[in-house]
């Protein structure tokens, strides 16, 4: 069809579609006149329209419709090497499995006549020189580990341009396979966990962090149920190249892994510690976390965190507490406590070593075997007693804080009420608390293709696309500071909020500032206006105490997301909190470039309007 003809057809179609039955037929007849072929084109299109809507043609999303294409590719996967293929001095006997890093074969080493597991790395990993360098180093150290629960590495080398790793062959099954979506009984769970801890202890002593403890990497030998941990030192190979691009790497890995082994995709993320999920530096305690997740899974048969997408799971790992163990679980309270401690969000609150955790689990095993045992181990005994005291103490403090909190809120409420009702004379004047905050905004305008020199503004100016801003805040007194940006409002939709402060990089991630501290957000770069117009707001919140509602969303304030609160529920909570608190406006004193805000009470909330038209 020529574009002109198409124009004609679509013009008639557009109007005809809003008409029914006879009116439609009459309209089409009238518009097409004697042009029979035009009329037939239009009628055909109208009929197609009806059928397309009835069948919901392309009514979903392509990603869902096309998903089936990937499923089949997985089924069509073929190993790279066939049986009886000679690869250097190794003879391939069988394929054992495949994963993101490559393929694993059962092979015979003709030199020593021993059976090995031969891991052949995929070409894209072998080609990455920097990764390989690190891989070599790690493999060297890992091969020196000599502990019965760690799979022994025999050789690391290259053949036919491919990098391979020969390790001890374990005739057994992976813990993943063994679990198979079911839970294990407590004594088996303890046996496995204690052996994994023994492996971790040896590795950690040699300064090797596994980084990828998960059921796929734990083997149980058929012969004697001996547990063996696989892939020490290998995780680093697939680890993110640079922290800034962590998410990208993570997803690359997941996506590659998926192609060969369905079901592994989510597995790689599920055992990640919060610090891994946030792309922070990790140490031995990340393995403690992952083992905690594995324990949880062994005891319940389910994972502590779930969600439809990678991002959902990451957010949960970073900020949600794991789902409580289901009621039917026969896990003793002590085991639940161990899991909670292993999965503390902050590494400092976890077990500090594999040994420490093993002590607790071994004691539990003794208790279960022989009934309650008193003070089987001195360290453990004191540990437990101090733990109890600590719990009691925390509970008391919490009660105290809660009481003070209620008291404080009522003072604060009454002071707020006074400020909005204009009869202050008769009311008894209590010298209540007051919050003061100073801010200024630095602007760099973008005009005629160039950035002008930055300057400070106190007033609210009109921005254009491309303009950049920074916000500077000074705190005359100590307190908790939170800064959010609010995107343009559209109708009744809750606008998007971004956490600008606290951020992991500024002020060590804490919201608490001391008196006379000054911060600049963003620290090194700028915020830039895009082409979407509207009124945006910069929310400044300064409280004497930390604001729990806002502390919750701190996890979102990382570089990759630019601070966007991706979780809609959290976003709404922030919105509701800010709008509910902004009823009382602080007093505003505008200087030439500085603005000083003063609010009664213990909390100051102020929105700076940034007009963008």
């Amino acid at each position: 069809m020529s574009p002109e003809r198409w124009q004609q057809v679509s013009r008639i179609f557009k109007s005809a579609i809003s008409l029914d039955g006879e009116a439609r037929a009459a309209y089409v007849q009238d518009q097409c006149g004697a042009d029979e072929s035009l009329r037939s084109e239009v009628e055909k299109l109208l009929a197609s329209h009806q059928r397309a809507s009835a069948e919901n043609f392309i009514g979903g999303r392509a990603a869902d419709d096309g998903a089936v294409l990937i499923v089949d590719e997985v089924a069509e996967y073929k190993p790279r090497f066939d049986k009886n293929r000679q690869l250097g001095s190794y003879l391939i006997l069988d394929q054992l499995g495949a994963g993101g890093m490559g393929e694993v074969y059962l092979a015979k080493d003709s030199r020593l006549e021993r059976t090995v597991a031969l891991k052949v790395l995929s070409p894209d990993i072998s080609e990455d020189k920097r990764r390989m360098q690190r891989f070599r180093q790690e493999a060297k150290v890992a091969s020196s580990l000599n502990q019965p629960n760690i799979v022994t590495i025999f050789e690391f080398g290259e053949v036919e341009g491919l990098t391979f790793l020969a390790t001890e062959f374990i005739d057994g099954e992976t813990l993943r396979n063994h679990l198979h979506g079911h839970r294990l009984d407590v004594s088996e769970t303890l046996d496995i966990a204690i052996q994994v801890l023994a492996a971790l202890e040896a590795a950690h002593e040699a300064r090797i962090v596994h980084r990828d403890i998960k059921p796929e990497n734990v083997m149980i030998r058929h012969r004697d149920r001996l547990v063996k941990v696989l892939d020490f030192g290998l995780a680093k190979v697939t680890e993110k190249r640079s922290r800034a691009f962590m998410e990208h790497e993570l997803d690359t890995e997941a996506a590659t892994e998926f192609k060969t082994t369905p079901g592994v995709l989510m597995g790689t993320i599920n055992y990640m510690s919060p610090e891994q999920a946030r792309a922070l530096a990790v140490d031995e305690r990340t393995d403690i976390w992952s083992l905690g997740v594995m324990l949880y899974e062994m005891v319940t048969g389910a994972l502590p965190f779930g969600g439809p997408t990678t991002s959902h799971i990451l957010v949960q790992i970073i900020e949600h507490e794991p789902q409580p163990l289901p009621k039917g679980t026969d896990a003793p309270a002590e085991l639940q406590r161990v899991i909670r401690k292993a999965m503390a969000k902050s590494p400092d609150e976890r077990y500090q070593s594999a040994k420490e955790m093993a002590v607790d689990l071994k004691n539990l095993r003794k208790q279960l075997d022989h009934g309650p045992v008193l003070a089987t181990d001195d360290t453990d005994h004191t540990d437990r007693a101090s733990e109890k005291k600590r719990v009691l103490f925390v509970a008391l403090v919490a009660m105290l804080v809660a009481t003070i909190g209620i008291f404080a809120v009522s003072i604060w409420r009454s002071s707020r009420a006074r400020s909005s009702v204009a009869v202050p004379a008769a009311a008894p004047v209590v010298a209540g608390p007051e919050r003061t905050l100073t801010y200024w905004i630095t602007v760099q305008k973008f005009r005629e293709g160039k950035y002008k020199d930055p300057y400070g503004v106190a007033g609210e100016i009109n921005f254009e696309a491309g303009d950049r801003v920074r916000v500077n805040v000074r705190t005359p007194e100590a307190g908790h500071l939170y800064i959010f940006s609010e995107g343009p409002r559209e109708g009744n939709v809750v606008p998007e909020f971004n956490v600008l402060f606290p951020s992991p990089t500024a002020n060590k991630g804490s919201s608490l500032l001391s008196a006379d501290q000054q911060i600049q957000i963003p620290e090194t770069t700028w915020w830039q206006f895009d082409t979407q117009e509207g009124v945006e707001r910069l929310w400044l919140v300064f409280g004497e105490d930390a604001v729990p509602e806002l502390e919750n969303v701190k996890a979102f304030a990382n570089k990759q997301t630019g601070g966007l609160i991706a979780d809609m529920t959290q976003n709404k909570l922030v919105h509701d909190f800010l709008t509910s608190q902004s009823a009382v406006k602080p007093a505003v004193e505008k200087g030439e470039t500085l603005t000083t805000l003063k609010a009664p009470g213990k909390l100051l909330v102020y929105a700076v309007r940034l007009e963008h038209h």
Partner: protein, 166 residues
């Protein structure tokens, strides 16, 4: 107000990926991950604005699906030389694969006659945007998007029915 270029890209990508999606299969997630990876890999692209971003992400998703569909078609035909037998073609995946390829062809034809309407389909079907978002990207009213979608979909449906019949 958004953080500068790369940050913004990540932010948008994150939002694009984390949008509420029910009945998400592992395979869908894998596809979306693949798109996300390619998306943040566009280091050399100058990102003009978010509209540009959404347009590119829809294109990427389309390309990925077509690649998968094509690979599939070739695999089934043993390198493209053999005739597809009825039994082989009967699997859901290959039917879906060829549907995707035919849709892609039809969409290309539509783009020649009417670039905007073809883009509406790309943004909605491949990019997963809603009409309101598409209106923002293309800088037209939502009503226009609805009308464009109706006519473009009807035309594509017709093309696909005809090519299936042949």
């Amino acid at each position: 107000m958004y953080p500068l270029v790369y940050d913004e890209l990540h932010r948008l990508a994150r939002r694009y990926m984390s949008r509420e999606r029910k009945g998400h299969t592992l395979q869908t997630t894998a596809l979306i991950n693949e798109a996300y990876v390619r998306l943040v890999d566009q280091r050399n692209v100058h990102w003009a604005n978010r509209s540009h971003f959404f347009a590119i992400s829809a294109q990427i998703m389309r390309r990925i699906l077509i690649d998968h569909a094509r690979r599939h078609a070739y695999a089934k035909r043993g390198g493209g030389a053999q005739q597809v037998s009825l039994e082989e073609a009967a699997t859901v995946a290959s039917a879906r694969g060829s549907e995707m390829l035919r849709l892609d062809e039809a969409l290309k034809m539509l783009a020649e006659m009417d670039p905007r309407r073809s883009q509406v389909v790309e943004l909605r079907y491949f990019g997963g945007l809603n009409n309101e978002e598409i209106a923002g990207v293309l800088n037209v009213s939502e009503n226009t998007v609805t009308r464009d979608w109706n006519i473009a979909r009807a035309w594509l449906y017709q093309q696909l029915s005809e090519s299936a019949a042949n």
